[in-house]
Amino acid sequence: MEKMKVLAEWTYVPAKPFRGYTGKTLKVNVGDMTFQSKDVSEEMKEKFTGGRGFGLKLLWDSVKDTTRWDDPENEIVISGGPLCGVTQYPGMGKFYAVFVSPLTNQTYDSNAGGHFGPLLKFAGFDAIEVQGKAEKDVIVLVDADEKKVQILESPFDDVNAYTVTEALHEYFGKPGDINDRRFVSVVTAGKGAETSYWGCLNSSFWDSHRKLPRLKQAGRGGGGTILRDKKIAALVVKTHDLSGTANNPADVGTLTRLGAKLHNEILTLDAEQCRMRTVGTTHLNEIMNEYHLLPTMNYKFGQHPDADKIHSEVYGKMFTQGIADGCWYGCTMACAKAVDGFTLKTGPWKGRKITVDGPEYETAAGMGPNVGVFDPEWTTEVNFYADHYGLDTISLGTGIAFVCECYELGLINKEHTNGLDLRFGNKADILELLHRLGEGKDEFALMVGKGIHRMKDLFADHFGADRDVMERIGMEGQGIEVSEYVPKESIAQWGGYFLTLKGPQHDEAWLIFMDRVNKQLPTFEDKAEALHYFPNFRTWFSLTGVCKLPWNDIEPADNATSYPPQEAAKVPEHVQNYVEVFNAVTGKNIDKDELVLQSERVYNFQRVFQLRLGKGTRKYHNIPDRALGPVWADEWEAREEYYDNELKATGIDPAGLSSQDKCDRLLKKRREQWEELVDAVYKRRGWDKNGIPTVKKLKSLGMDLPEVVATVEKYAKPEDQW
């Protein structure tokens, strides 16, 4: 590759991390080509901790109340957090990207593994803000070796992820030393991210075993769409200042001791627990099917007789075994599985032999049973191209599932789809739709890529499709697609998905087993308690740069016998590990209550942020009928006895009713239960009836910052107080 032209440059002295923080953040504006470094105050650490918290704070300071996703002042803020870069304890290399989302026009946060988060910190920055819009494609480089930040002219005509990532690892690595490429990490999107709202951010790491770059995705929310809207082909970070103690932790002995304990646990117990090391998260495929939770044909069903074809053993055979597939150093969980030597059968790279990252469960389910396909080879091909084009596989799966059901219901037809027969299971035409999304030219594909929320408008306006039917079956909330677990049988999970800060993503709470199978949450108050604790606890991972999987996809051998049932589900020993790891890195002295408090501060701040952007009230906590229960007779009839009993439990005798009548009556009851749940959850969270955090709540958290209180006071009404 020819030498890239430097458009703007700024020199700096990389700050060394101390106790997990560098104390500096970087702002790059690709519109006016300026650079700025800001100090991280003690107050910022105290109130926002790091990662997503820093992202939200920096974004808050940079946008206006009226900012929309494609305004130049919108930013992508990437931050790892104080634990990001720890190598002694598994799963500590994540970053969080925060931005105003094209899908929801409110803040969104999305995480990725790969090496970008840790390398950014070791290059001197706790966060990078990227603002402005370039006139032509650029690359932003943070080069700690040369002590400079540059905006470079992009040489790429093809901006797809693998093309750009491979070239940049080679370009910035030392010539003739392929192993040097591990000191580089790249964030890209792709051509599909440009024209759809489903753009993901691909974060790379150099795989020293395979000698190629791998990609992990901050998939959700449309971060990749913003990257491309800013005409950024890639963000690159480069540093050789990399070691196991680069975070300069307060107590490396404790980190080593706790890490050794968890490594041992994973190495001895994973094979009999979740088998993450051999099949990754695909171990969930057959489990979700067994419990009626596998999304099948747009979440109509939760189980299918062909599910055996996507069994984790099938994927396990496709994944290369025996390679330490950690997405950051020190992760013995090693679930970043890959399919090597895969020959593409379609698309622009047809015939090429490549390595595919994944599929993970959500991709295997979403671009699998949810679109009526039970063929891992096909899903693997889809997975590759979705990453390459920069498309979120989850929104893609749920979005195309919606399209297929619209097609089968006759709401849209072949004329509208420009010749595609989009029935469930039609592999060739669904894959062709993906390629059209990647190309960004076909009008129908352009509509699809805007997401279900807008498809409902577009299909109604352009094709006269029945709006009411689409509202009932479109699996989205707040503008974003549901993330591949069937929620209709668990009242608590309605909240886990739809009473969230940013829409139905499963990073806040996954309560289906607790609620539906274990029967641990019998009352609305119990459900509300879980919908208070888990989102707040789980938010903490996003503040510190930590992967959630080593928390609860492995558990100590005696976890189940050492605690009462309600406690055991929290994996208390691992929670205590996180408390100690946090203290060992930062030198602070928090306990498990303070850990939840750190999260609750940011959780409530983000809620107020949504309010500031004109969202964040009760009416945006919308839930479609399909998430509440069966909508059509065939869904009911697939589990007739089960649903008849559900109806009986509400006091309605199903005898003599048609299946459609039964669906309608159950849904009516469930809507009432939904409202009851919303009230209980808002109360528990310290929010008013309209879902706005009260000033009293903010004060109790120490988050009564003047601009936050002013926002609440602007929107809160006396009649909404309890």
Partner: protein
């Protein structure tokens, strides 16, 4: 063997246990594993309490469950 008549189905000769709050037919010699299989609980991270006493995972195959027991089979969260 415990005898808890209130947990028996009224008017029937069946003996019952309670599993996660729901009645289940009991059989002589029934083990924790039998219940797990009967319920089709394929999830690997299960924690079991029989009358509030935890049963270690390596005892599931041979730990028998007395008639009238209250059994909790907790699926740890995982997933998501």
């Amino acid at each position: 063997m415990k005898n808890t008549p209130s947990r028996r189905t009224s008017g029937s000769s069946l003996v019952m246990i309670i599993v996660n709050g729901e009645p289940m037919e009991w059989e002589e010699g029934m083990t924790v594993r039998d219940i797990i299989d009967g319920k089709r609980y394929v999830f690997p991270l299960l924690a079991v309490w029989v009358d509030h006493v935890p049963v270690p995972r390596d005892r599931f195959d041979d730990a028998t469950v007395p008639d009238g027991s209250n059994v909790q089979i907790i699926h740890m969260i995982s997933g998501g």
